[in-house]
């Protein structure tokens, strides 16, 4: 299937990292709003009651402590009727939504733990969909898409997180060396040559792999949404991405064709 065809026939779930994305007149796009107080890794967040776009999704990607989840219980009672569902990473959210009797779609977005068919199918007993891991190969993704029981979310052209810490790592560093306070930095790792876009708020610090993963080659009938975290892209560039125009200089296919390993000793079973 050509990318243009895909754009016409498939649905995209786009994180609202810039407010003017909401002006995009593109069919098949649903917006995902990082929610103030409940999300990490975003510079722009939205109060939960101010998400008024039709068929919107709430992004709650914090790991929630007791105080956080108690607060969420209260705030979820205030959401508008336009809210279609919640994308989350803390499994406690499932119980909260159930206890509150809310009729919302639930998408599990902890993409490091959605690496095999069976685990995903177990999660799908409790949620409507899950985001397929960006830590696995294309072959593994197709195996999963072939065998899982419900349509999944698949990254399309997206920034993906490489680390999430509860610590305020940028603030700690800036405080130690009396540097100007910033919420975003690019960190360079000199040995591997990797850069990481790093964003901090009061709930923690997220390291993103600095290149966008480009999974636009993946097509399958069992995809519910193509997921896009366009952090760092402007509206025009996002539009080009949605149209399938090339952004290769800032993108990578990630682990699609790069297998990771974990044993150093050869021949160990």
């Amino acid at each position: 299937m050509l990318v243009e065809e895909k754009m016409k026939t498939n649905k995209f779930l786009v994180v609202v990292t810039e407010e003017d994305f909401l002006d995009l007149k593109v069919k098949n796009v649903n917006f995902l709003f990082p929610i103030l107080g409940y999300s990490v890794g975003f510079l722009k967040t939205f109060p939960i009651t101010e998400v008024k776009v039709p068929h919107a999704y709430l992004y709650i990607n914090r790991i929630l402590d007791h105080e956080g989840i108690e607060s969420l219980k209260k705030d979820l009672l205030l959401i508008n009727e336009n809210i279609e569902g919640i994308c989350f990473t803390d499994l406690g959210v499932i119980q909260v939504v159930k206890d509150l009797g809310l009729s919302l779609q639930l998408f599990y977005m902890q993409n490091h733990s959605t690496t095999n068919v069976e685990s995903i199918n177990y999660y799908l007993e409790y949620v409507d969909s899950v985001l397929v891991s960006t830590d696995i190969t294309q072959e593994e993704i197709y195996t999963i898409l072939d065998k899982v029981n419900k349509p999944l979310l698949v990254p399309y052209f997206s920034l993906v997180d490489a680390m999430y810490s509860r610590r305020r790592l940028l603030s700690n560093f800036e405080e130690e060396f009396e540097l100007e306070k910033k919420c975003e930095e690019i960190l360079h790792e000199p040995i591997s040559g990797n850069d990481f876009r790093t964003i901090e708020n009061e709930y923690g610090t997220v390291f993103y792999a600095s290149k966008y993963v480009d999974y636009r080659s993946i097509t399958h009938d069992n995809i519910l949404y193509y997921y896009i975290n366009p952090l760092g892209l402007d509206k025009d560039t996002l539009l080009k991405v949605l149209r399938g125009e090339d952004r290769s200089e800032k993108s990578t296919t990630g682990f699609l064709d790069v297998k990771t390993y974990y044993r150093l000793k050869e021949g160990e079973e």
Binding site: I63, H66, N116, Y122, D135, S165, N172, F196, V258, T260
Partner: protein, 399 residues
């Protein structure tokens, strides 16, 4: 009060035995497959069976980590592995992938399933999710506060396991793949290259960026944690040696017992902190239990990892008639040195080395070959597996 457990790391059979001898109620270790320390020695099935038999002979327990996040290719063989663990009498597995939890339940195994700290549990609803899958214990995220612990315990009734000592991830455990990006080694399948201990740079900033956390040390919070409902106090360090294991486990054993007998004094904590700090190669702090860690809980410039050479010898035997201890040397010592003996069945005591005899009962002045056998005349009764270390701190008399 519910059962309290001191849970020790065991990188191999020797360390498993030392953990138990020095006061652990249970150990956790990994087999050759499916554990997050893929490059440690780990246990063969036969070694695990021997470890389980040894533990059960003492009325103690063995937990096996099956805590990787599985890729498709690893799922084959999992059932056989779990059934084999069950057959040899492993008491519980520690899992993070929902696949392992479900499989263990579907197979009708008698071993218990504990949820790993990799699941990042900080609230009761997340804990209930796993309780409904049939797990009996949750290992909370190291980011848990006392309030989080209390609420989870109160609402779920699950057994609560918390790390109290040892190294920490910078990230929520399980939420980091920096290793995958920088080295292609998959952190969630046991290949973590500890990128969070590397140095980074930032444009326009002269200082290197570092995010390495100091180690965790909750010795001062044992009483609070017991009151909050913690059942199992877990020490990190499957790669650590027997001296570290023996020292740390014995300190926590003594402190837990003193707390339970309501006899722990402030000054005791100071003494035990000194012992723990001395044996560690990094600084340690309480981290998340009472606050959000700031800059003082991590390293920036000038991090030192000190190699500890306090461990002088391991007692192999003791001849009561001659008051003669046979000792395997581990680090240099000489006549005139002030040392200390400690062990699970003795009160720690100071000792001045007046004479050293070699294996042939010849007098020598120094013990300077690792693993050489020497003999010392010691009037206080010693036991095999007691240890001798440099005397740095005096034990308070009442302890």
């Amino acid at each position: 009060m519910e059962r309290l457990e001191l849970l020790a790391p065991a990188g191999d059979l020797e360390r498993l035995k030392f953990s138990f001898l020095y006061g652990a109620d249970a150990v956790y270790c990994a087999g050759k497959k499916y554990g997050l320390r893929a490059n440690a020695d780990n246990f063969t099935m036969e070694e695990m069976e021997e470890g389980v038999k040894f533990a059960h002979s003492l009325g103690k327990k063995v937990y096996i980590t099956v805590n990787i996040l599985f890729h498709e290719e690893e799922t084959n063989g999992l059932d056989d592995y779990l059934q084999a663990l069950d057959k040899i009498g492993v008491d519980a597995i520690i899992a993070s992938d929902i696949l392992v939890i479900k499989r263990a339940k579907e197979l009708g195994l008698s071993l218990e399933v504990h949820v790993s700290t990799q699941a990042s549990i900080l609230n009761k609803e997340a804990a209930l999710f796993y309780k409904n899958l049939g797990v009996t214990r949750v290992v909370l995220a190291r980011e848990a506060s006392l309030e989080d612990i209390k609420e989870i315990k109160r609402a779920t009734g699950l057994e609560i396991e918390c790390f109290v000592h040892g190294a920490m991830c910078t990230s929520f455990s399980g939420r980091c793949v920096l290793s995958n990006y920088c080295t292609r080694r998959d952190s969630n399948r046991g290949g973590c290259a500890q990128i969070c201990r590397w140095m980074f740079s930032m444009d326009g900033v002269e200082f290197p960026f570092s995010m390495t956390p100091k180690d965790l040390n909750l010795i001062q919070y044992i009483n609070d944690m017991i009151e909050a409902g913690v059942n199992s106090f877990k020490v990190e360090g499957r790669m650590r040696g027997i001296y570290y294991i023996a020292t740390v486990i014995l300190v926590y054993r003594r402190v837990i017992d003193l707390v339970l007998r309501k006899k722990l004094r402030e000054s005791d904590i100071e003494y035990y902190l000194n012992i723990l700090n001395r044996v560690a190669n990094r600084e340690s702090t309480a981290q998340f239990i009472d606050k959000l860690p700031g800059k003082n809980e991590q390293y920036f410039l000038g991090r030192e990892e000190v190699s500890n050479q306090d461990f002088l010898g391991l007692v192999l035997s003791y001849d009561e008639e001659k008051s003669l201890a046979t000792i395997e040397e581990r680090n240099y010592f000489k006549v005139g040195d002030m040392v200390q003996f400690f062990g699970p069945n003795i009160e720690t005591f100071n000792y001045k080395v007046e004479e050293i005899f070699d294996e042939n009962n010849e007098k020598i002045e120094v013990a300077n070959h690792p693993k050489m056998i020497i003999k010392l005349k010691v009037n206080t009764k010693l036991h095999p597996y007691d240890m001798m270390r440099i005397k740095v701190f005096d034990k308070p008399k009442h302890l």
